[in-house]
Structure formats: C-alpha cells, structure tokens
Symmetry: C2
Subunit: 103 residues, 2 copies
DNA sequence: TGTTCTATATAGATCACCTATGTCTGAACG
DNA sequence: CGTTCAGACATAGGTGATCTATATAGAACA
C-alpha cells in the first residue's frame, strides 16, 4: 500500500467506531474492496505507535466473536491529528492532480 | 512527500514535454505551488532508475539557460507504465476516500 | 489432547526517499 | 588569466515506514 496513509486510515476507522486490532484491518479491507490489505505485521506496530503518541487508547475487551481482544478508541488528540492528516491528504491529492492534468 | 508517487510525477512531467533533470523538479515545484519539492538527491537516483528500466531516455543537450544538461524524454514503455501508474493512483485515491467518507 | 482458529506481538529485512556532500563546466569579473 | 560563482549532475549514507516471517496465547472442537 501507499506509505504515509496508514495512520490516517486507522484513525478514521476507529473514529467511526471503536474496534479491536484485527477488526480495524478487516474493516479497511472490506470497505476498500480489498485495495488496502493491512497485515498484522504492519497493523500492530502502527497501533502501538499511535497509542504511545496518545492518539488512540486501547483497553482489553472482547471481539465480535467473543474473544479476548484489545479494543481501541480515538482520543481528543487523535481527532485533532486526524483533521490535520485529512488536510494533508487533500493537499497531496490536489497537487498530484495538478501534475497529472495541468489546467 | 508521499512515497510511491515520484515515478508517476516524473513520467507525466516529461511526457508533457521533455526536460532536463533539474527542469523536471522545477516544473513539479512550480505547478504544485511548492507542495512537492523534489530535491536533487531524490531526483537523480529516480531518473537513473527509470532510465535503466527503459521508461525514459536521456541525451546530452542544453538547458533553457544554454548550459550542458541531460534531457530526458519518455519512451513507449514509459507511456505504458504511466498508464498503469495513473490507474493505480486513481484506485488509491478512491480507496482512501471510501475509508474517510463511507457511503 | 492435539489441532485449528482468532488475536496480539515482535524481529528483521526492504525500499524509497532525504540529507549532506562532491564534482564538473562555463561564465563573469577583477 | 586566475578566481569565484552558479547551474547542473552525481552519489554515499542514513532514516523511517511498511512488509515478511515467525512466535505466543487462549478457546473451540474433534
């Protein structure tokens, strides 16, 4: 996948609804129709980093299937970060568009 | 800048018009209003790689200021590559959009 | 009880990109 | 003429995010 977008995708996914780790990647794969597949080895380090930086919070709970799972939800700082990440993403999309199809 | 988009930007820039190395980065910086600034240390390795892979061709010529410069133009293979890169980019933008704003 | 599935976890490798620096050439200028 | 300066190209070395591969634990089930 595209480097630099993972935080954005994770933050937005758990902003919509708190989820456990693999639930986040399942949701991303599902909603993008398989375009983005975030594997555990990419997912968990990212979650740990985001938690350490205070953008998300994890607490042990249960998954949909009743299994023990760490459920993450977004923090106030995370919402703030998400806003700036979205802006940054929009800016990038615009800029690439300008190069691809100059006015 | 966003990793994975450099080839796309370079290929499209010299497809529109052949340019020498620094001319490419000048053009990208100018048209994106400074959002993307490709510095020589990123640019030249990318150009060499693209040339080695047959997507662009360089030939010694002159810059706008009459200096000795290596002018690159896109090859047939480069156009093909550009097409697939554009498709890939569109797909990514769509997928991120789906995560950010689910239907 | 041993196999499988869900779920979390981590080490190590990879690869693109960035920082910093170097080299070459020609022009301008004293 | 020598020196300096700027345009242009080049490369080494580092960084950081992501991927590959593997490991661990508990629950279910045969």
């Amino acid at each position: 996948m595209l480097k630099g977008t993972l935080d954005l995708l994770i933050l937005r996914t758990i902003e919509i609804q708190p989820r456990h780790g693999l639930g986040v990647s399942d949701r991303i794969a599902q909603i993008t129709g398989g375009t983005f597949v975030v594997k555990p080895g990419s997912l968990f380090p990212a979650l740990h980093r985001l938690e350490q930086e205070g953008y998300i919070e994890g607490a042990w709970g249960e998954s949909d299937q009743g299994r023990r799972a760490k459920v993450y939800r977004i923090t106030a700082a995370g919402r703030k970060r998400l806003t700036t990440e979205r802006r940054s993403w929009d800016r990038i999309v615009t800029a690439v568009g300008q190069v691809l199809d100059p006015a």
